[in-house]
Symmetry: C2
Amino acid sequence: MQMIEPQRTAAHRRLIEAQAEIFKALGHPSRLLMVEELTRGERCVCELQALVGSDVSTVSKHLSILKGAGVVRDEKRGANVYYSLVLGCVRSFLECTGRHIDQAAQDLSQDLARLAALRSGD
Amino acid sequence: MQMIEPQRTAAHRRLIEAQAEIFKALGHPSRLLMVEELTRGERCVCELQALVGSDVSTVSKHLSILKGAGVVRDEKRGANVYYSLVLGCVRSFLECTGRHIDQAAQDLSQDLARLAALRSGD
DNA sequence: GGAGTATTTGGCGAAACATGCAAATGATTG
DNA sequence: CAATCATTTGCATGTTTCGCCAAATACTCC
């Protein structure tokens, strides 16, 4: 039995949806900030709340979205809940996107400089 | 001059926002499907539309979101517009999340099996 | 067990997003 | 240049997400 057009199977669609959920979870500044902090080690909700500055309930909901997507896990210890990163490869992807954005900004300012030079030249 | 608490600078906030925009752009099944297709080479809008099956206008809007986030670029050639992947590291991250999701599914079914065994045991 | 701290949940209004249709734009071909 | 094809844009609508508040829950310390 051979798999024809694997990209159209139901299994593939489910995988894409699960992956999209991961991206969606990471696609919010507060959540991404927290995840970045978690690349340095586990943190309790209160620490993450101090980091992002929103209401605790908002932070808690953000964290539950990240957990639902399988990006982080939580562990209750005493009165606190500690969150930690599960999806380690976020770290390297963040580094890559960081470089990418820096490069884009550099390219942009070079283009602007060229444009200015051209304008003053004629 | 020393940089104190770099994670709170305006520059860092801007970076996080740009990165979050990338994740958000990827956080939609249709967009992710198209990006995955683009990891195999450039495609015109019509090909991508055939892939995802939505209205062409919807597909075009999705593509403009991906372009705005710096994930893809477009190039007009003749009557067609060809999109191609700019952010190459998406590929490896997709592989990683794919493995991660497979693993999670496996763990889940093992847990269920254990639970069933336990139940039939008592 | 009562006060205080940490976290989650429910609810609600505002803002953002997704989608399809219709219309506009741009290129090709006869 | 009229007809057609590929793509984008404007608009209307339904859906989702965000962020706060208030209330519920869970734990610790006296």
